[in-house]
């Protein structure tokens, strides 16, 4: 495919945030609506927002990547109802700052503040407490979508409801999301953050369930064999007054973080980091933290991601049903003791929703397990064992996080995978929308 200036195509090397997937891609970077439409209707394409997905969801070989980063504007704001319409390239950090400035808040945001609104819809991301706030779909009123054949479509729960629903965890297949109307909630002045130390992941599950109503709720855990599951559950309650706010005014984490030449997360580095977490959250609190700082803790994690080095990492995130959780933890502990992988961190969250389509939702505890150098033999063996274990315990995989996941495992982990796939492709019969992710998972 030769570069065509009419719609400005360039060849660029693109890489997933976990550095596990890379491809040389034809990229279009439209900055006006007519340039979005200029791409011939029969060209295979995928939409790219910020490009901060852990996996290759926004790029792929043999397709044109439409980078809609220039479409990042605010379109309409109803300050009475808390309805904000934005272009899909707007970042959640930018939207959050605007909303907070007017006393409102987007309750579900991913950890990376540069993630685009379109990306949040396409992946149906979860936020700081999915058990309370659900996933992103719960906070979207309407979507404007560009279909290469049908043109611009206005979608909401009443009009074209099927396609509207399909946009969430649709991974771009239903079309290019141009704008969305978001339903905001009233913002607190701050969060009063507390830290509870837990000795195991089973205890963490109990603590998470005990604080299910907190707007911020997650755990960070050590995964070394001798300390497996030890960690801290952080929960934040709405504070009426912003007294003596802790946390610096955060600078948004960059879209791409230059890796250190060597991986810092060897056994010594992992031990040091877990020691630091124990020390940092030694006091139970409460400590008042600015809303933005509480929503985007990854802003302080630049060194953590750089430390994975050039080989990157993999995050396997599985949602384990409550009934199987204790057994799963026991089996996982056993696998860790046997295979001795390097796990830099385990994050835990509580879910309490109904899984729809390919969304990462359900009822149970989600564990996000981050592992450096996933291609190393010992690491790869553990990732394979983890997938097997998770599937045996009827856990559901997060497709937008795990670049090691294959199509067969995704099908086993998501019971109605095939029906969801068919539903998505109904809106793209020409198979025009494709990415590395959709190709890998056979979507």
């Amino acid at each position: 495919m030769s570069p065509r200036r009419g719609f400005a195509l360039a060849q660029l090397d693109l890489r997933s945030f976990d550095r596990s997937c890379a491809a040389r891609c034809h990229v279009q970077k439209p900055d006006r609506y007519r340039l979005i439409e200029a791409l011939p209707a029969d060209v295979q394409r995928i939409t790219r927002g910020a490009g901060v997905s852990y996996v290759d969801a926004s790029f792929g070989e043999d397709c044109v990547v439409q980078d809609i980063g220039a479409f990042d504007r605010l379109i309409e704001f109803d300050a009475e109802q808390g309805l904000l319409t934005v272009e899909a390239g707007a970042s959640v950090g930018d939207v959050t700052r605007f909303a907070l400035g007017h006393g409102w808040l987007l309750p579900v945001v991913p950890g990376h503040p540069r993630a685009s609104i379109g990306g949040c819809i396409a992946a149906d991301v979860h936020g700081k407490n999915p058990a309370r706030d659900g996933t992103f779909r719960r906070h979207v009123e309407a979507i404007e979508l560009f279909d290469p054949v049908a043109g611009w479509l206005a979608l909401d729960a009443d009009d074209e409801a099927g396609r509207f629903d399909a946009c969430f965890a649709g991974f771009g297949i239903p079309g290019l999301i141009g704008s969305a109307t978001l339903r905001l909630v009233r913002a607190p002045a701050a969060y009063a953050m507390r830290s509870l130390h837990v000795a195991s992941l089973v205890e963490a599950g109990e603590v998470l369930q005990a604080h299910a109503g907190a707007p911020v709720l997650y755990g960070w855990h050590d995964a070394r064999p001798g300390h497996f599951g030890r960690g801290v559950v952080r929960y934040g309650l709405e504070a009426k007054e912003a007294e003596r706010l802790g946390g610096r005014s955060p600078v948004d984490l960059p879209k791409a973080i230059a890796p250190w030449p060597l991986c810092a997360w060897n056994r010594l580095g992992i031990a040091a980091m877990n020691g630091w977490i124990q020390h940092r959250y030694a006091h139970a609190g409460p400590r008042h933290v600015a809303v933005e700082a509480a929503l985007f803790p990854l802003n302080e994690a630049r060194a953590y991601y750089a430390g994975f080095g050039t080989a990157g990492f993999v995050e396997a995130q599985w949602l384990v049903p409550h009934a199987r959780y204790a057994d799963f933890i026991e089996a996982l502990h056993s696998a860790v003791s046997r295979l001795r992988p390097r796990i830099s961190l385990i994050a835990s969250k509580l879910f309490d929703g109904d899984p729809q389509g390919l969304s990462f939702d359900g009822r149970g505890i989600a564990l996000a397990i981050q592992m450096p150098q996933p291609r190393e033999r010992r690491q790869a063996a553990f990732i394979e064992a983890l997938t097997t274990l998770a599937l045996e315990h009827q856990a559901r995989p997060n497709l937008i996080k795990d670049s090691s996941l294959d199509a067969a495992s995704a099908r086993r982990g998501i019971a109605d995978f095939e029906a969801a796939r068919e539903q998505l492709r109904r809106f793209d019969p020409g198979n025009l929308q494709r990415s590395g992710l959709t190709a890998r998972l056979g979507l």
Partner: protein, 243 residues
């Protein structure tokens, strides 16, 4: 006070509109597509305490774009600045353009800026305002590429020189920025021999200089050295520089 930005929907024009709004200027945004303009205007209104209006106009097909802009200024505060970051280049501008193609290039790059400047001059003189034009490094010396584009940009530079000649800076600030490579949709994916500047950085410089008299200068400034070098090259060397 109102600033008019012609070519406001992309690249430098969009960056200028944002920077002007950030500095408290009310805005009339002019570009070809009403969809882009509506979103731009809404975004600036929501983010900054400014009035914004927009005018969609096809500069290649309009014989008197200035009159349309004057009409659109009705109801806005007095005009204080006219910025003309408008331009169009084509890959096939290598001496083989048709008459229609040449007409389109000249209309957008030369006729429209001059016609708009003429129409708005009285309003700018009334407020002792500023008129800001944008040239290109391509106009430094004629080459076998960007033939009509470079001609138009050099013509525009001459027009701004005439304006400076005719008006003291105390009556009208006439500013002409000759641009080096810019990171924009026009240069996306191109392998450029020298670094491209971010439109936002250029916009900050341009807006900060609005009150600073009349001048012609390169943006970024170091492009002046490049232009001097290019102009100093002996012909037998320069004619070999095809890429």
């Amino acid at each position: 006070m109102t600033a008019v930005v012609v070519g406001a929907s992309s690249g430098l024009g969009r960056a200028l509109a944002v920077e002007l709004a950030r500095n408290g200027h009310d805005l009339l945004l002019v570009a070809s597509d009403p969809r882009d303009l509506a979103v731009m205007a809404a975004d600036l209104r929501l983010r900054y305490p400014v009035q914004t209006a927009s005018l969609a106009i096809d500069l290649a097909g309009s014989t008197n774009p200035g009159a349309r802009i004057l009409e659109a200024l009705d109801g806005l505060p007095p005009l204080s600045a006219l910025l003309l970051p408008v331009g169009m280049s084509r890959n096939d501008d290598d001496g083989s353009l048709s008459a229609a193609g040449i007409g389109q290039m000249l209309a957008i790059n030369l006729h429209a800026p001059i016609a708009i400047a003429h129409a708005l001059l009285p309003a700018l003189l009334a407020t002792r305002g500023a008129i800001v034009g944008f040239g290109s490094i391509a106009g430094a010396r004629g080459r076998s590429r960007n033939v009509v584009y470079a001609s138009a940009k050099r013509g525009l530079e001459t027009y701004f020189e005439s304006l400076r000649h005719g008006h003291l800076p105390s009556a009208l600030r006439v500013q002409f920025h000759k641009l080096g490579f810019l990171r924009s949709n026009l240069t996306f994916g191109m392998k450029l021999p020298l670094p491209a500047a971010e439109p936002e950085a250029i916009a900050r410089t341009v807006v900060a200089a609005l009150e600073r008299g009349s001048f012609t200068r390169y943006q970024p400034r170091w492009w002046g050295q490049v232009a001097l070098l290019v102009r100093s090259l002996p012909w037998f060397v320069f004619r070999r520089m095809r890429d």
